[in-house]
Symmetry: C2
Amino acid sequence: MAACKLLTRERATQLLANIDTVLTDCDGVLWQGMEALPGAAKTIAKLREMGKRVLFVTNNSTKSRLSYVEKFKNLGFEANEDEVYGTAYIAALYLKNIAKVTGKVYLVGNTEMAKELDLQGISYTGTGPDPIEGTVTDWKTLPLDPEVTTVLIGFDEHLSYMKMIKAASYLSNENVQFVATNTDEKLPVGNGRVIPGTGCILAAVHTAADRDPIILGKPSKFMFEVMKEKFDLDPNRTLMIGDKLNTDIMLGHNCGLTTLLVLSGVTSLEEARQMQASNSIEHQKCVPHYYLPNMGELGDLL
Amino acid sequence: MAACKLLTRERATQLLANIDTVLTDCDGVLWQGMEALPGAAKTIAKLREMGKRVLFVTNNSTKSRLSYVEKFKNLGFEANEDEVYGTAYIAALYLKNIAKVTGKVYLVGNTEMAKELDLQGISYTGTGPDPIEGTVTDWKTLPLDPEVTTVLIGFDEHLSYMKMIKAASYLSNENVQFVATNTDEKLPVGNGRVIPGTGCILAAVHTAADRDPIILGKPSKFMFEVMKEKFDLDPNRTLMIGDKLNTDIMLGHNCGLTTLLVLSGVTSLEEARQMQASNSIEHQKCVPHYYLPNMGELGDLL
């Protein structure tokens, strides 16, 4: 059972001696929106100097690998395409290699997800605005594309009731696969504003479809399995760093990794302690082994 | 415990002798969309001839009382405004008399809900299309109306990501009330099409808001409490007729009514039997006392 200990210098030295690979979440750990968090880039550089492999693991589906590389560069981080695992890429990979999609994907998603589907040679339909028209009489006979074999849900700022009808209607055929990038509920931005996450879009479709989707993002093991195979990773020698308990930290527990919570994102130490005090198995999977105020502090300890 | 018995002529005679008031759901019981179900109007007329009070109870929020009276007339039923309880009306009533709303309602709903709010003198904002614009940078500082004190969710074919941001942002203030008409998941229309219900719209907002709404529609007791007070109803002498287990039949159980399931809507006898075979208390609340193929049959038994 993880103990949620402060990562002291001594513990950090001991921990890093037994680690080859560091997986890190991005938003809330390396940056907040478009601003790099202080010291994070330096910590990443230091880990690499120490010979650690660093891989970036994010549930955010709004960027292709190429767009992420661009963002890393703009915010002062170094990363190449192979080191970045976002759910836009991972979804395309899953549909190509595991689901072995034939026909078309009905995409409730975004243009970056579409780019990754293009790179895997997967056909799709559904991106961009699709506002509701007509009345229930028209909706009952809405034209559907007979080639659609898969519904993929990711972040889609153009979600509309029309898209909900289409997604739910395709999914009423049990042979149509139901796949989603992630279930993150929201991006809390303070200031009395809440930016709903893909989990909200998925909840709408899920409720109508009355079927459970395959979820690819953290805490699902799939992303780690892909990285593990690609880089021959040893879970016992891998550290997962993140700011969210039920995605980052739970992924670590699900895959047998050591976990480090940073408090620079969506989670307070108090929330982690509440999980620790709970008897629920699900909550215990959200308790990190270690915590630190932020990524900059980790660099200072090394 | 309810036994889900076929309502025979003998049982019907016995049952009706002990009933003063009949509550009936509409869609799937009296009509399907814009078509009256055979014999339903005759059954309603017969019940009234027998001296029973008939009240109409629907979770559908897309019609005001006045519009319902119109629909009843068009489909060959007689009903006056006072006999129709839809969630558009009931929501306005709740906000006026129970929640005692001051300020404005942010409405994720429709023009018929707006009409009922007007009748109760409640201010609102939010109806009609509100497509997403800008990027996350803009959304983080989206203008909000400081007068909004309540978020009301009902059926809204113009649901958009912009509305989801606004609703979730208003709800991040814990003093803002969170009210929803109903949680119906979908209107199954066959033909490979699914029409998502208010439950889908609510699920999207609920996931972002991370707060539980007050739900007014069946199976919540609120609608029955309003009718009970208005007409001095005796639950022991009231029959609830409906086609949906987790709304109509559960409402009956929640309020101590006798329940009759008709199989002309969304539920099969097999589904009712599955509930009966379950040990779950929630499922037991979905088991009707009686069932019949449809409302026409009830008329034939009387």
